[in-house]
């Protein structure tokens, strides 16, 4: 098996699980239920000491043959910050989801851009803002300006994680950011 990962992160209830469900080939499960070597190798899933276990939502995309991409949702819990490094190493990228209905989503944007800074620097990050329909403020312009101030070049999209099309658009941006020369092969 050739294994790759894409991470979905963001604050509590920001749509991480929904986003994975939108593109996963399998129903979303918890890492506790998965026995993939990779998942175990990374130290997630079942361990003796439940309290120190990082349980994450999990889905996957099969690329055909012996290859697949694991989709992980980080728990909306900052106690596990230190685990993210292990997770991000070698990841194709990270989808940062923000909830526009929260009190200070811009601060959360700063937090997550910083937490996943190594991926952001390598253009392996994309930002999705959800619930914009019901909560138009802050506007996308505000996020764009904020990113400009932080001098990060990251695709920022309005994104409804329940809509597969939106999630696929974000994932494609993640791929093209890394390699604009990519072309899709005719199917």
């Amino acid at each position: 098996m050739i294994e790759h990962t894409i991470i979905f992160t963001g604050p509590l209830r920001s749509g991480k699980t929904s986003a994975i469900a939108s593109v996963s080939d399998i129903p979303v499960v918890s890492t506790q239920e998965v026995t993939s070597d990779l998942v175990l190798d990374l130290g997630f899933g079942i361990t003796q000491d439940k309290s120190a276990t990082l349980v994450m939502d999990y889905g996957c995309m099969n690329l055909g043959g012996e290859e697949r991409i694991h989709l992980f949702a980080t728990p909306g819990d900052e106690r596990f910050d230190f685990m993210w490094d292990a997770l991000t190493e070698g990841a194709i990228g990270v989808v940062i989801l923000l909830d526009n209905s929260r009190r200070s989503p811009l601060k959360e944007m700063d937090f997550f851009l910083n937490a996943f800074g190594t991926l952001v620097e390598k253009r392996r990050a994309v930002l999705g803002i959800n619930r914009m329909e019901e909560h138009p403020i802050p506007t996308l312009r505000t996020y764009q300006e904020r990113a400009g101030l932080l001098e990060v070049q990251v695709p920022i999209f309005e994104l409804d994680p329940r809509q597969p099309k939106d999630v696929r658009t974000a994932l494609r941006a993640l791929l093209y950011s890394q390699d604009p020369g990519l072309v899709q092969s005719p199917v």
Partner: protein
Amino acid sequence: MTAVEPIKVGAFGLDDRARKLLSLFFAGPCKGRFALVSQFQADVLIVDLDRPSGWNYYQTQNTINPSRPLVAISLHRDREMEVEFFIKKPMRLETVLQVLEKAAARVHGASLSSKPPERPKPPSPQSVASKSRLEERKEAPEEYQFLQLLRRRPKADLAQIKAVAELFYDPAQCIQGHLQRTIQIARAEKQGMQISGFWGRLYIDPLEERAYSELLDSRLRPLTVMRISQREIEVIPIEPDHLQALRQGKNEAIRVITSIDALLWRLSLWSSRGRLPKGTDIESPVFLRHWPNFTRCLETPNAMRIIALWARQPASLTDTLEALHVSQAETFALFSAALAVGCAGIGRRQADSLLSPVPLEPTPQRSLLKRTLNRLFRHEEES
């Protein structure tokens, strides 16, 4: 003999004299088989491609009304320009007749097939000779200039000159420019603004970055091919009560609600139709301020690749074409929209040594990324 309704023929780019000759020809040798009418009533439309805006007009008409046959006339048949019916200048009347019949057959095929059309007598040789002045060069200074230039330059340059002239458009003369100006005012004043004209109203709410339109896309789109002067546009503030009503969905006339950028993006793409804003230097570097909101803004072919390239490093339009092997039209349309919404800008032309295009090295992960991309596309097609 049953009277057959004449086939209505319109003409774009013909001067008065040519029109008069054409209508004489229709009434005389063609025995009323055709009638010259305004372009709006025409079943078949003749378009002079040698007019400065001829090709543009042709494409526009083709988009707006694809079922209406278009007959292109020109001094040269440009292989780049794909046309269904073509008459080479100088026009011979038999050819005009033949081609118009073919075009008419396409439009009236069903309705007229039961009554075979009365074939007009081919014009006598002498009438052809006398009428063939139709194709003599009219007073058209641009065309004359093109020809002069052609004579001074090596072969194929006329086509190039024509192409370059048709490469640019002036957003200020289009609905795009008027909308852009309205948005600018709205944002600067932090004030809801209304822009209206004979076509209806659009409302811009800069605080929520929303646009409210009384027009469905299908009604908005034809506006983008029209020249609209400032006199035909009214821009005024929205009353606070009305703004409230808009936000609460209480204005019954509103048909479409989008983000301001998504509206401007779309209108710019349509206005551009593969052309560049007037004055764009295709050798100056394009830089990206931020990505367009591709989940809501129309994603044109290769748009993400082009944007991703500009996100890496500023690149001129010509370098972009070369680096990505993308088409001019898709690149220029995307640039026009990106410039309009402000996510891209254009810098000053750099000294060659300062900004030579960095060749795009495939990343080591390219094949993985490509397989992932294909997987996403596969699902796009299934859903």
